[in-house]
């Protein structure tokens, strides 16, 4: 099985150079993406067989790489799960791209890097030693950077690529340090050796902090999220879907691997850092998203919120595990993994929809869209399913993972630590707040883009998306629905991965009556998505029958009533900024120092008034700008080293030599 997976990933990597060769041909686009889709599906089946068949971990050692280390690969339950996530996203994105890619203006900048990106992501999940992990991780970052820079003539894309490169390099450097610390002075870089070694608590704590920075920057934890809303929108839409839906999950995989497995036994206070960061990430992510009017940037900021939710689950799992409550840890961990899967599904779906809108209208700015539901009804329907799923509304899948996390929070009073007794309710409140704000965000996203009347002329000629794009979108919408009404199947599938890392798993859901899910015990709480959905259908059907029988069925189209003030022009309707204004005023005045400036013309003048909304990003201005200023200052000071005389250079070399000799002399 592992050989299949490896060869699949290898094929994907090789497709890169192949694309360079055949890229100029007419059907290259469809052929290439089709092959990617097929290979991803094969890999998906591989991984699923491994996970569902509960096969034991398989390892493989290749004589590539460093001579004394080689390249270790391993396929265990956790890797299999993340391979499933990667490949389901990759298959759908490739399918989408068969249709979307025909509108690509610079195909030779996208086609070679895309399969390499997919291959690298697959290999990160398989890596079993530090070097393979880091090499594949960096390869993933570089290929995605190349994809972000595909449209390099747009200046903001260049800036996005630059920030992304800096953050990715920082992340890899920190991960290098992490693995260095874990490997110890003997250089035991393979994960098998690291698993056997037991790091001291101080070392383990340092490893946690470094892992949090290294993987958190790739995942998008606040305050390391700044590259995400710049880079994700800049890439082509299928790549954005992959970066948001899949690459951030690879970062989560890295975090789980390092913290839950390689760093040894967790101390309880680790969970406080993770929970605090995750709670802040949740709320800040969704508030940022609410302030956006660029559709793709809104979706990218929202990914930050969902990563926060996943890390809340992981933090709770760490806390429970540290205190020996393995069954509760299993619940929290399952919730986090289930949200990983769910988020990949609905975020990719939403990015596909945004891509379809972008292709059809050429606009990403919601302020110029509106009324698209009339022109693109099928895209609108799929996008609506995505919005309902991401807002955690029953009976779709987003609700299931949030429900499981709430149940885990309700188990937390059993944790004996005081710090956690105060942190967990606060984090629960932040999670509830972010869930409500997420629903608001997606009412805005769907309502302003698809509903209402057209705000500019690009809408009138927008065509419906092509068959492949629609196929990918509807496929994911169907999966969201299935994961929502049959969550027990997915929870059972996850059990081997959970068991490997936590030592326990949730009760088997297959045997629960009526296909409900029971997180702890039947008497405590249960949820039956299928039954709820059936009830809703029955109620709606009964209502429809009653209406059909008893009510009049006449219908007449007329201009909108609008309280008797008919408004022929479409600029009277709400825009994205005006929709967010109440929330901006309540939450944004403190957090973002949101100010609205109105520029009124003098009385009698027919020129328009202007409303400007000024928002200031606290993380960017508080952390990044001062850091950048400090780095610039330091480098300017150090620049003087360039202009020394020859004698001064020689002095430097001499001083370094004397220093080293002194160290050698004095070292005990």
């Amino acid at each position: 099985m592992i050989v299949f997976a490896l060869s699949g990933a290898g094929v994907l990597l090789l497709l890169g150079p192949v694309a360079v060769v055949i890229g100029k041909r007419k059907n290259a686009n469809a052929v290439l993406y089709g092959v990617c889709c097929a290979v991803s599906l094969v890999l998906l089946v591989c991984a699923a067989t491994h996970l569902l068949g509960r096969a034991p971990a398989a390892t493989l050692r290749l004589p590539l790489g460093l001579p004394w280390v080689g390249s270790h690969l391993r396929l265990d339950a956790l890797s299999a799960f993340f391979l499933i996530v990667v490949n389901v996203g990759a298959a759908a994105a490739s399918l989408f791209a068969i249709g979307y890619g025909t509108h690509e203006s610079a195909p030779m900048r996208v086609l070679p890097f895309y399969p390499a990106f997919l291959g690298a992501m697959n290999l990160v999940c398989l890596a079993d030693d530090a070097f393979s992990f880091l090499i594949t991780w960096e390869f993933m970052s570089l290929t995605s950077w190349a994809l972000v820079m595909a449209h390099h003539h747009v200046p903001e894309n260049v800036r996005a690529g630059y920030v992304y490169l800096v953050m990715a390099s920082l992340g890899t450097l920190v991960l290098l340090l992490t693995f260095g610390l874990l490997a110890g002075p003997d250089g035991a870089y393979s994960f098998a050796q690291i698993r056997l070694s037991r790091p001291s608590p101080a070392l383990a704590a340092l490893v946690l902090c470094l892992a949090l920075v290294g993987t958190g920057s790739k995942a998008g934890l606040v305050p390391l999220h700044a590259w995400l809303p710049l880079a994700h929108p800049a890439a082509p839409s299928h790549v954005s879907a992959l970066m948001s839906g899949v690459m951030t999950k690879i970062a989560v995989y890295g975090f789980i691997r390092i913290v839950f497995e390689l760093a040894g036994d967790a101390s309880w206070w680790w969970s406080t850092i993770v929970l605090a960061l995750a709670g802040i990430t949740c709320v800040l992510g969704v508030l940022y998203a609410l302030m956006q009017h660029d559709l793709k940037r809104l979706l990218a900021y929202h990914t930050v919120e969902n990563i926060g939710i996943i890390f809340i689950g992981l933090g709770l799992a760490l806390a429970f595990k540290a205190f020996g409550l393995a069954w509760a840890a299993a619940l929290a961990f399952t919730a986090a993994l289930l949200h990983v899967f769910n988020h990949c599904l609905f975020k990719s779906l939403l990015f596909f929809g945004a891509g379809a809108v972008l292709t059809a209208t050429g606009e990403r700015d919601m302020e110029h869209l509106g009324g698209l539901i009339h022109r693109m009804p099928q895209t609108a329907f799929a996008f609506l399913i995505g919005c309902v799923a991401i807002s955690a509304l029953p009976p779709l899948n987003g609700f299931v993972s949030e429900w499981l996390i709430f149940q885990a929070i309700l188990l937390s009073p059993q944790l004996p630590s005081w710090g956690l007794k105060f942190l967990v309710p606060a984090v629960g409140a932040l999670l509830a707040l972010s869930a409500a704000l997420a629903a608001a965000c997606f009412v805005k996203a769907f309502g302003i883009t698809f509903l209402g009347r057209a705000r500019s002329s690009v809408v009138a000629t927008a065509p419906e998306a092509d068959g492949f794009s629609l196929g990918a979108m509807f496929g994911f919408a169907a999966l969201c629905f299935v994961a929502g009404i049959l969550p027990g199947l997915f929870i059972d599938a996850l059990a081997p991965a959970v068991h490997d890392l936590i030592g326990d798993h949730m009760p088997v859901q297959r045997s629960v009556a009526w296909l409900a899910i029971v997180p702890i015990a039947q008497s405590r709480s249960s949820y039956d998505g299928l039954l709820l959905f059936v009830f809703m259908i029955i109620s709606a059907w009964l209502a429809a029958i009653a209406i059909h029988r008893l009510a009049s069925d006449k219908l007449r189209r007329a201009p909108a009533w609008d309280c008797g003030y008919p408004d022929a022009s479409t600029i009277g309707q709400y825009t994205a900024s005006s929709f967010a204004q109440p929330i901006r005023r309540v939450f944004g005045t403190v957090l973002f120092r949101a100010r609205e400036e109105v520029d009124m013309p003098p009385p009698g003048s027919p020129s328009p008034a202007r409303l400007t909304v000024v928002l200031r990003d606290p993380v960017w201005e508080g952390l990044y700008l001062p850091l950048a200023a400090a780095v610039t200052l330091a480098s300017e000071r150090l620049n003087r080293l360039q202009f020394l005389t020859i004698r001064q250079f020689l002095t430097l070399v001499f001083a370094a030599l004397v220093m080293l000799l002194l160290v050698l002399a004095l070292w005990p």
């Binding site: 029953p394 609700f399 039954l531 219908l555």
Partner: protein, 305 residues
């Protein structure tokens, strides 16, 4: 399920009657809401030209979710048939779905009134829903389960005692219920001035049978919240699961009594207080959220609080 559907308009009519009486008016008859619904059903639907298929489907979705949620709240007996299929969090999420789609309906026609309603509604929801979840946490931590029937049975038993967190949760739930049902002081259910509209603004373009469904859903939601308050905080008279016919009858009478008292209190409260301006509502709901958070915190810290 059918009981809540039949009782909901009666409750709305009762509240309106009491409000009128307090203001020394005769007021509409108790069964006027039923007559309103029948009248609306008979009228033709006038649909705006810019409305989409979603606009026509949404009333059914709202009605379905609200009805399912209302059916899951115990009314006169604690052992509902399918009560294990959805717990209190799922009920809140169902109401959240209804609100999501209603907000979309407000945006669908593309008028400024719909936008006002939707944007204010999501602002109110962004604070009311977390407050509600905190209240659920409080109740779940006390009763040991999020299942409504289990909580109701626990409240009936003597193990509860008079707890501070329950008191805080009660006040927070009343505040959230007022906000969610669009009652004074948060929103005026009887107004048509855009300065004061939230719920009414979103349904401005609906007419005929669609409006009938939406009005019925709003009444169902009021019934749901009053039933919730009754079964959680005033559970006496609630028939235990598997009780005899006499107990069920007592339960039914007790339930009707509780609804009547709740309606009277609501009407008195609405007539004695003025509507808050819109940006005072976040402070009001923020206070509810803080109360819920305080109640949860107290329960995390000490088992007997």
């Amino acid at each position: 399920m059918a009981i809540v559907l039949l009782l909901a308009p009666l409750l709305t009519g009762f509240v309106r009657k009491v409000k009128a009486r307090v203001l020394r008016r005769q007021g509409p008859s108790l069964i006027q809401p039923y007559r309103d619904l029948v009248r609306l059903m008979r009228k033709e639907v006038v649909l705006a030209e810019s409305a989409s298929w979603l606009f026509r489907v949404i009333p059914y979705v709202i009605f379905a979710t609200t009805w399912v949620a209302a059916s899951l709240v115990p009314t006169f007996g604690a052992g509902l048939l399918f009560s294990w299929s959805a717990d209190l969090i799922a009920i809140i999420a169902l109401l959240g779905s209804a609100r999501f789609f209603l907000a979309l309906a407000g945006l669908d026609v593309g008028t400024s009134f719909g936008g006002i309603g939707s944007s204010r509604e999501v602002m109110i929801a962004s604070l009311a829903e977390p407050a509600m979840i905190m209240i659920v946490f409080t109740l779940a931590l006390i009763a040991g389960s999020t299942q409504l029937s289990t909580i109701a049975s626990f409240m009936l038993s003597s193990a509860v005692g008079l707890r501070v967190s329950l008191g805080l949760a009660l006040i927070a739930l009343i505040m959230v219920a007022i906000a969610e049902n669009a009652r004074i002081p948060v929103d005026n259910p009887a107004t048509h001035l855009e300065l004061t509209m939230v719920h009414e603004a979103m349904v401005l373009e609906y007419s005929g049978r669609h409006l009938a469904l939406i009005e019925l859903s709003a009444s169902l939601k009021l019934l749901l919240y009053l039933s919730l308050l009754a079964c959680l905080f005033v559970p006496w008279g609630l028939a235990a699961p598997g009780a005899s016919a006499i107990a069920l009858l007592t339960g039914a009478l007790a339930y009707t009594g509780k609804l009547a008292v709740g309606g009277i209190l609501l009407a008195l409260f609405e007539t004695s207080i003025a509507k808050m301006r819109v940006f005072r509502v976040p402070e009001f709901l923020g206070a509810a959220l803080m109360l819920g958070l305080l109640a949860t915190l107290l329960l995390f810290v000490s088992r007997s609080l």
